[in-house]
Symmetry: C3
Subunit: 142 residues, 3 copies
């Protein structure tokens, strides 16, 4: 698989919660963190998603928000990976932010240049990568 | 809270419609406009979302579309904030568009440079910011 | 309608699968391909979505992933349009990729510059445009 998404995490399905149209899929990462994905029930069936299945959790960088100081807020977004800013690339409109996780993995976020400036992001500062469950694509080996 | 999302609206929960896996949350803004968010039922429970609760509606600029002339179309996207283009920043690939709302708030959209050119956007022209309910993150004070 | 989204496909509703809060809408394109959209039940009612209805499927370029070699993977994303890379514009942070479909339509994706480099994208190579059902906005004539 060669896919444009910068975030591809190997994990294992922990649980699948079926709804009427959509399902919620919990994916455990080796580092102990969890990713929650919302996919259609059709996808659950076609991909054979069930507890124990090895999967990839795929997230576009543009779906990821950066939270620099979140002690005072609780967010509805199901996914929050805490780490340290390890790289920032500024463009005229967009900025690319890399957050290194304790597990050794990295998360990539594309945010607005203005957002980057407003946050005062600097390499070495703590930050969290935030993304919603519907932003996660689940992949399995064909 | 310091978050990269350019759009953070203070509002009050109007209603919560529970589904099997996801819920629809109506958020009333002080200016009389409404934002609809789709979040998981787990988030509704953890954040204590119920009518009257003060919340923040958070939307990434990249989740926002700009509609320049929408008299002839109805869209499935639940969120449509009408205003006036107040700023445009063009990059080689992306453009940042700011839409000033009658309430005094602004909405920020990151769109493609080609989209911006095709729309003929200019400061002072009317435009609507369009975003889907699953693009909205709900935040509450911790 | 003048909308910033680069991807606007004319199609016909094939089926609507109602859930508790959200519905899945299948849209048939003239070229024989299918697009799946997840919208709220309120939208289904307001837009009068039912089999046979002429609609537009609208997808922001930033919601589209590019898959360059997908023989070994199955993805939960419901939408996969196969074609050939016809244009690439590189920016410092983002890249714009155009994929020409056999039907004559094109799909536009905004991906990270790093993603573009990692994929080794070149004009003329086969590629698929991937996007999730919740990324699709459905439009009808007012």
């Amino acid at each position: 698989m060669k896919i444009s998404a910068r975030n591809v995490f190997d994990g294992t399905v922990g649980a699948v919660k079926l709804g009427a149209v959509n399902s919620e899929v919990d994916i455990a990462l080796p580092g102990g963190q969890k990713i929650v994905a919302t996919v259609t029930n059709d996808s659950v069936a076609e991909l054979g998603l069930a507890a124990g299945k090895a999967v990839k959790a795929i997230v576009k960088a543009s779906s990821v928000l950066v939270l620099a100081d979140g002690a005072d807020v609780k967010l509805s977004a199901r996914n929050r990976l805490e780490g340290t800013v390890s790289a920032i690339v500024e463009g005229p409109v967009s900025s690319s932010v890399t957050i290194a996780l304790p597990s050794g993995d990295s998360v990539f976020a594309t945010i607005t240049h203005e957002g980057s400036i407003a946050l005062g992001l600097k390499v070495g500062l703590p930050a969290a990568a935030i993304f919603k469950a519907p932003s996660v694509i689940v992949g399995v080996s064909a």
